[in-house]
């Protein structure tokens, strides 16, 4: 095997601390190296030509390039090699810049290390096998998980591009948190007014199959070829028959049995309900936990009043299976529940603020409902405890966010803006009211955002106090907010009628479980990880799974919509070809030697490993072996290390190659 070695100076980036000509000279003396040379810029056109010419003239079988990180120019050099007739997998890169010249000062030590790095690459390339790309077919259908504004936008964009969409929403209606909002910053336009048309568009779109009150329970397969199992929870209403007249709701005798979660528990709802008047689809749900029929088998009022016979008490959860080509995850967020219902144990609550204890200490979403014209107070600002109009209101920002001691280090990003909006809305409705905002910093980066905050301060006389609140307690129907003003450098005490906490945005409940179901990584909070923070913000690291909205990190509406469109675009790019090429870095089982213990199957994060029967001459199964679906395998190699008999090899990183690298040290 004839190997060519090409050492790049990278201008002076490498050659400043690595003696490149010497590296080339020493490497030329290694067995198998036919040709070695150094050059100023290997990645430049003349540099690449040098490689091509050498391959042709010297009849090289494989090349090693000592240059920058393979993450930078591996593809460049592989392409150069391919154009000269070498398999791209017979190209190895020794990282002489990021891992050597840039991090060491001593020329001798760096040169020595560079020689060893190149030598390792030479030994690896000697054992590399030519590989070719794997072609897999693509199912032209997208699964969107989550029907908030991000999911809606992604579904519409994808469907408008001509691809089928399955939109799965766990609540009875799509709309998400945006449908709960009163008005949106910084324009103060009505949230429902801009959202509802989109929701209807989704409902009516011929390419979109809408599955509300449903959850994704299993994802199998791989990019272009997922198989999604979706649980459609029993609504106990026949969706085909229901006309959405709402008679069952008005006649239901269990008027105030359950908290209305859409109203953030500030109101009640009957056993049969639609979450909100503009719900899509406009089909009610029967809540088994409060319905009289399920309690004692009696009642059945709804059955009597429904002239279409749509009530179906016997309805069961059903499972649907769909073939999917790409997945867009848009599961959104929830608010940090400080001591409301025993907050998540990993976060420490804010007991000192009395949330859950005092009815007039509420969170941002609750205030949205109070301020909403369709809310429980019909848009009048009234406090939950006694319905009085609060004359003095305190907003506290960064409750949970940016507080390591409570378990959340990040900034929730939208609170500064919505608190300013809340204060403004309040001032617009209660003209003689006083609004105080405790803040740490005001972060109003965004088009018209800073201006919006200035307006709140300057035009609406909202009082901003820089400092933290230490304690809130009740005294004579007032809530004493004790804090400090760090600018004035003195303690502050405000007797508020209502306190609104801007609690942190955290991922939806079970986001980690969902991530595992789909097979995507997530961070320590449960937000899903993007493939690259800068260059691949809407892709997950799992091929074919894209991210949109606040499930990835705190986002406001325009960002969520932008991400959704971007994710839709990525998905349609994927679906636009009939087959797709995959990197051949996949694992393969030696079936003769496989002992069939299936530890590999247990550890495979992608479910790529299947059981294959081996039969004897009489057709009787005498052995079971592992079989790796090359389309599903992502090439992590965890199976190879787990396999006790070493019957699995990862192409491109097989054990012989790694042993050779170790031996060359």
């Amino acid at each position: 095997m004839k190997i060519g070695v090409f050492i790049c100076h990278c201008g002076e980036n490498i050659s400043r601390t690595v003696d490149c000509p010497r590296v080339a000279r020493v490497c030329e003396s290694y067995p198998g190296v036919e040709y070695a040379i150094d050059y100023k810029y290997m990645c430049s056109d003349p540099g690449q030509n040098m490689i091509r010419d050498a391959i042709r003239e010297k009849g090289l079988d494989a090349i090693v390039v000592g240059s920058c990180s393979p993450h930078m120019h591996e593809r460049t050099f592989r392409n150069a090699a391919v154009s000269a007739g070498i398999n791209p997998f017979l190209v190895e890169i020794a990282n002489l810049r990021e891992h050597c010249s840039w991090v060491h000062d001593d020329v001798e030590a760096a040169t020595q290390k560079a020689i060893e790095l190149v030598r390792m690459a030479i030994e690896k390339v000697k054992r590399d096998k030519p590989l070719s790309k794997i072609n897999v077919p693509v199912t032209k259908r997208v699964l969107v998980i989550g029907g908030g504004i991000a999911g809606i936008q992604a579904a519409l964009d994808t469907a408008n591009a001509g691809y089928e969409v399955v939109l799965v929403e766990k609540e009875p209606s799509i709309g998400g948190h945006m449908s709960q909002l009163s008005e949106t910053f910084p324009t103060l336009d009505c949230s429902q007014c801009i959202l509802t048309p989109r929701m209807v568009e989704v409902y009516q779109h011929p390419k979109i199959k809408l599955l509300t009150y449903s959850e994704v329970v299993k994802i199998e397969g791989f990019i272009g070829n997922f198989k999604a199992t979706i649980k459609k929870k029993a609504r106990h209403i026949n969706e085909e028959l229901c006309s959405g007249c709402g008679l069952c709701i008005t006649k239901c005798p269990t008027k105030k049995k359950a908290y209305n979660s859409f109203e953030e528990d500030l109101a009640f709802r009957p056993a049969v309900y639609i979450p909100f008047p503009q719900a899509v689809p406009n089909i009610p749900v029967i809540d088994e936990s409060v319905c009289m029929y399920y309690k004692n088998g009696k009642c059945g009022m709804c059955v009597k009043v429904c002239d279409r016979g749509a009530i179906d008490f016997d309805q069961k959860d059903t499972m649907l299976v769909a073939d999917i080509g790409a997945i867009i995850v848009a599961t959104g967020f929830k608010l940090y529940n400080i001591d409301k219902k025993a907050a998540d144990s990993k976060y420490k609550g804010y007991g000192e603020y009395g949330y859950g204890k005092y009815r007039d200490v509420i969170d941002g979403l609750q205030f949205e409902r109070i301020a909403s014209a369709s809310g429980p107070t019909a848009g009048e600002i009234k406090r939950p405890s006694d319905g009085k109009v609060p004359k003095k209101i305190v907003f506290i920002q960064c409750v949970g966010s940016r507080d390591d001691s409570k378990g959340i280090s990040y900034c929730s990003k939208i609170c500064c803006m919505y608190t300013a909006k809340h204060a403004m809305l309040y001032k617009h409705k209660v003209h003689d009211g006083e609004a105080y905002i405790f803040y740490m910093d005001i972060r109003a980066g965004g088009k018209m955002y800073e201006e919006f905050v200035r307006r709140a301060i300057e035009e609406d006389d909202v009082k901003y106090i820089r400092g933290r609140v230490s304690r809130i307690y009740e005294e004579n129907g007032k809530y004493i907010v004790k804090g400090e003003d760090t600018i004035a450098g003195m303690p502050v005490e405000i007797d508020a009628d209502l306190v609104v906490l801007a609690t942190a945005m955290i991922p939806q409940e079970n986001s980690a479980a969902l991530a595992r179901t789909i097979g995507i990584p997530y961070d320590k909070y449960g937000f899903f990880n993007e493939a690259h923070p800068k260059l691949r913000p809407v892709e997950s690291t799992t091929a074919g799974v894209f991210l949109a909205g606040a499930c990835q990190s705190p986002r406001d509406i325009p960002e969520s919509v932008a991400m959704a469109s971007a994710a839709a675009c990525k998905a349609t790019i994927l679906l636009s070809s009939d087959t797709l090429e995959r990197e051949p870095v996949v694992a393969k089982v030696n079936e003769d030697l496989c002992a069939g213990c299936f530890y590999c199957k247990k550890v495979c994060p992608f479910g790529a490993i299947e059981v294959k029967d081996v039969k004897d001459m009489n057709g009787i199964v005498y052995k079971e072996v592992a079989y790796i679906n090359q389309g599903v395998c992502q090439g992590c190699g965890t199976c190879t290390a787990t396999c006790l008999s070493k019957s699995i090899e990862l192409a491109g990183f097989n054990n012989e190659e790694i042993f050779a690298e170790i031996a060359a040290l």
Binding site: M1, K2, G32, K126
Partner: protein, 277 residues
Amino acid sequence: MNNIYMPHLAEIKEVIDESPDTRTFRLKFKDSDTAERFDFKAGQFAEYSAFGDGESTFCIASSPTRKDFLECSFKVYGKVTQALHRLNKGDTIGIRGPYGNWFPLDELKGKNLLFIAGGIGIAPVRCVIDNVLDMRNEFKDLTIICGARSVSDLIYKQEIKEWKARTDIKTIITVDPGGENASWDGEVGFVPAVIEKTAPPSDNTAVILCGPPVMIKFTMPVLTKLGFKDEDVYTTLENRMKCGLGKCGRCNIGNVYVCKDGPVFTYAQIKRLPQEF
């Protein structure tokens, strides 16, 4: 100390790619004394070292009558052959040998010879053919029947061309059904079928038969049918060997050590051995 495990060093003078997985090395001993003393007979084998990966056994493929170089051909199977395959012209390998017995050409003088080879089995046969051709007038009719899985798997294309060009040998080359290509002008069919079709005469004829076990298994009945006697069919056994010196015990079958008592056996001898090869 006379170290029987010490190989001679030889330089790879030329690398010939016979097929995608088969290679021929043309070798020259580094030490001219060794080159002079290295005497062998057709059918003998040697142990070839790729230092760092070990030794592998294959026959010497060049004729003992052509002493200026030594040739060996190998197919990439295991660790050592892979390592040998990585070597280039100018690299050094080790050779121990020659070992084993040989085709008794002296006894076969004056006879017709039928050479049958399949796959890499053509390597020992080539050694005999070249040897015989260098003393052509000592033998009568020569027939070569040579098979490969496909046209690209056919090795010694150059030599075959030379044999075909000669009028004093009958050369028949065949590839397995499905292995032919558009420009193929030889036979298509498995070796036993081709032998049956050509039906070479069996009187006063010795057969030199080398190839994969399955080919030998199906060829023997055909030869018997054509009237060949087991005693006249010479073939080689390919048991795994390590030392080549009759010591390591690996190639022991019954009371023979293939590396010393073989590798050349008549089919009659093989029939008397335990069938463990």
